[in-house]
Symmetry: D2
Subunit: 328 residues, 4 copies
């Protein structure tokens, strides 16, 4: 198939544009120097015009989307509803970045290329040529990028249990109207959910960690924060031996990465909201008989945890600078 577009103006489409991730995608695309929005679908809100990223966007029905007009289609559809649209889009020609969990590791026997570029050169190469990229989940992005360098260098104690507590803003739960997400229910409250290692993201993380060759258990407990945006993951990691300078370790591991920040101070949500970054802090724990590392990882769940990372992947797929449209 011959694409009739120039690298300076690459048409992209968004399926499922009315959700929080879909809106963020449209806003990033509106400010992107090379992408232009070919269509944005939202069945329930079709016909509505909204302002996103300084541009007016009119939602159309998914069935009316001119799929073949796009070079890249972002599928921001609900988990379970995405796969048929990925196939339909591929049949029409465009390559796909799928933001659902349908094609991620641990969720299907035949996962797509997992779109987490900072995992390294091999992952980036695979993303560049992929027809379909499975965009990672929000929690997995914040947690796996904190664990990957430790696992890759064999620093995690074999047979150990990594405890990953994380807290997310409410936008992570989507914008379908549910009583438990009303302002008067969420304000001033805080709770754990998906308790017992049962959250949908556990399989995605466990499968990816196994791919690193890490012989570990992972315990993941998410919490709901009374804020709109942001994730902070707090990871307790048993090590094979102490790290003399954990901050320096992560800085070296991610040297040259535009979207990974490592600081001496603790990262907070304010450091990362509306930006396409994961920001890490790391400290050895005092008072434990075996060496243990505490890593904190902050991220905007809608940007680096969803729409921003999706555009980062699309940049790679189109041969653009990975940071195009993603620096403040």
């Amino acid at each position: 198939m011959i694409m009739h577009y120039s690298v300076n103006n690459i048409p992209v489409g968004v399926l499922g544009a009315s959700g929080y991730a879909g809106r963020e995608l449209c806003a990033i695309i509106a400010r992107h120097p090379r992408f232009s929005l070919a269509f944005a679908t939202a069945n329930e809100q079709r016909g509505q015009r909204v302002r996103l990223g300084g541009r007016d966007v009119t939602f159309i029905a998914s069935d009316d989307a001119p799929l073949a007009d796009a070079a890249i289609v972002f599928a921001a559809l609900p988990h379970g509803a995405s796969l048929p649209w990925v196939e339909r889009t591929r049949a029409a020609g465009p390559r796909v970045v799928d933001l659902s969990s349908d094609l991620r590791p641990g969720n299907t026997a035949t996962p797509a290329v997992y779109g987490m570029p900072e995992l390294g050169a091999a992952t980036r190469a695979a993303i560049r040529t992929a027809d379909v990229v499975a965009n990672p989940g929000c929690y997995p992005t914040s947690i796996l990028l904190a664990l990957a360098p430790l696992a890759a260098r064999g620093l995690v104690r074999a047979g150990a249990t990594i405890v990953a507590n994380a807290a997310s803003g409410v936008s992570g739960a989507g914008n379908a109207p549910k009583r438990e997400l009303l302002f008067a229910e969420v304000a001033d409250d805080y709770r754990a959910y998906g308790v017992g290692n049962t959250h949908r993201h556990v399989n995605e993380m466990t499968a990816t960690l196994a791919g690193f060759g890490a012989d570990v258990d992972l315990v993941f407990t998410p919490h709901l924060l009374p804020v709109a945006r942001g994730i902070l993951a707090t990871l307790t990691v048993p090590l094979a031996e102490p790290l003399a300078d954990p901050v320096a370790f992560f800085r070296e591991a991610y040297a040259g990465e535009a979207f990974l920040e490592v600081d001496d101070a603790q990262p907070t949500l304010r450091d990362v909201v509306r930006r396409n970054v994961v920001r890490l802090g790391a400290t050895m724990l005092a008072g434990t008989r075996a060496p243990m590392l505490l890593v904190t990882s902050a991220m905007d769940n809608l940007v680096k945890g969803a729409a921003g990372q999706a555009v980062q992947n699309a940049n790679l797929m189109c041969g653009l600078d990975e940071t195009a449209g993603l620096l403040a």
Copy 2:
């Protein structure tokens, strides 16, 4: 010394009444059926009249407090500043409930009676006759009451590490004006602090756990929530063997306790704010090779985590019903 008061009208005083815990104390005392407020001190705000618990309270300077007029004095002074006032108060006659960390286990070679009544009959007996009770810290109350039944029955795996992540509302940091506690700094944010197992409460918890005979490491990481009140602790506990029904276990362990609630659903801050309770949830974790238990523990940091528990201790010291003035 002869106390000139009846059991129906017991005079109590508050040192350090202008902080959040001190104000909560005055409010609880105002509604208490047996206690009456003899004095409330606040050096900086002396002379100010505030309405607390439906009563007008006028703060006086600590040096002007008629210590000897009270049967019980609550010391809600800053850590480090409390000990001299405990001694001065004792010299004047009254018994003391000290809300600072000065006399808690792990903070001094000669701790006072640790005022956590739900630890059991021996603790209650010691509180009843104590001259000085060290009121537990907020995080330790929520965490130790979740761990105590497990430790007491030898269920925690020997040599294991308990990971205690907890998040607290901002009132836990006090009401001294600090830039980092301004609304415009805290709103929409979330962060870890005291990272590296360095928080002041670690010693208190470690010393108490050792007293239970538990051979464990504890890793404690507190976080700052953008809410005014409430603590939720999330505990990952390696067990010697699986618990068939963790909820039933805690229900049985705390049967008859007025201030311990155990529910099938996850406890949230809303369940506990403005109430003198700790509310627990418990679930075995899936997907770990060795048995691990997840316990969540919700509490109001200013009530059961401070002023409420202090009054609970004072009730015991005065021979009153332990719940007097503490049920909604």
Copy 3:
């Protein structure tokens, strides 16, 4: 009809108990010294058991409510849906406090007794013997109680326009799941709504003000606050002549009222939430050629603005102390 109950244990029912006002009603009734809850209906949530005011309440379907078992039925049903249930309840025997707007002045040709006791002795007398009381709306309660003493004494300038700006917490919009009420939509935002003098409460206020004999226009603009509870109304009132001491004026006007507070300081939401009070501030405005008064009026929309005032009315209807169950 002979009621088979003692004044010490008066059975009351709640129709529409799952909304915010309905839940608040159940909680107040649970703590009320004389009322006991005969039934609580919630069609969608029938069968659910919830804890309200320290008691377990199980919702039943409205059609299953044993209406005749109650002495008083509180109807907390949606506007428009209430009237048939008021009639059905009356036919079964009980007297009714209706929290909807269906029977309020300005909403029907034949309004019920308007249940705002602080309007004076005649109103209280009418409430005591009423079969049906229309419980006032939240905004009208906060605004009319601020204006009534001025209107009653002829102090408002004839032909003038009173400007009433008010802001309400989100619980005022109910707990039906709507996208615009989601936490991630409401947090950090603030907006006017019902703009153009079109809010449902305008008629209720205009009709009541006309009943006072006030020859005024009223401009009412409500706003949505990012808080769960509370209303603050800010009223600009042209006067016929200056008031020398507006605070003293309101104190005298409401002398002896348990639920009206007047203070020198500006009332804030914190002063009133979870309490059955309206709290007023009043100041003459500088820099205007004709005399103008600024009155601020703070109130909890779910308590004095709904459930608390409903119980206050029911207390009067049952010959009880008006404050029964309503003081903290």
Copy 4:
């Protein structure tokens, strides 16, 4: 004095850079295509390095500022402290945009050029050549830009009272640590302040309105919102005659203005935060005997209400495009 810089790289300085407006200024300057930051002062925090707008900024003491190196100096100092620094800066050469109230109309007998470009061509011309521009206050910007077109066309009823209620996020109160601005004090609360037409901004607005030739009284009541950023002003304006289409009126009045938005829907804080715009809504009021208009005006107090408007003025002073660095 000869300035040694090119129009492509204009050095600017910030006095008082650690406050909220000062930080916002540094962030806007960091992203500005033509301005570069010559210095940023903050006496208390001198030596501190902070990241603002993606650049590291190190604060220096005001006395160490190389004033003469800048073409434009922004003075973001406290009210009352600014004037001496304006004079000192002028003596060193640079032109000044002063964000304090010291040189605004109504605050001094000899006000500087009032930097509200949208007042029209004459104002813009005066700003372009001014040595010192007084940057308007936040409330006055949101209120005066809503009133100016009405006043300029003689539409406001002579002798009438305009009622301006407004609510601001907490950042408007600055970041000096004060107890009443702590998170635990402000959260869930809402209050009026500066009641009685006594706020510092009243003079600024009254003087400017008089300059329009409007014969009106203004009643201004500000409120404190539990949000970090944003102002919404709600204006009730008696008109000489009805406006057939108020939205069209404002659209025409502000045709071609980049930073004035007029919409059919009610503007909310979300529409404007982090953007250099005032967004207006307008509706004729029903139910009043004389014609009255309701105008709502939303704005980010730190951007169009402070730092953004300051840069807009500096753009004009330097002969740049007025929107340089100010479009998202």
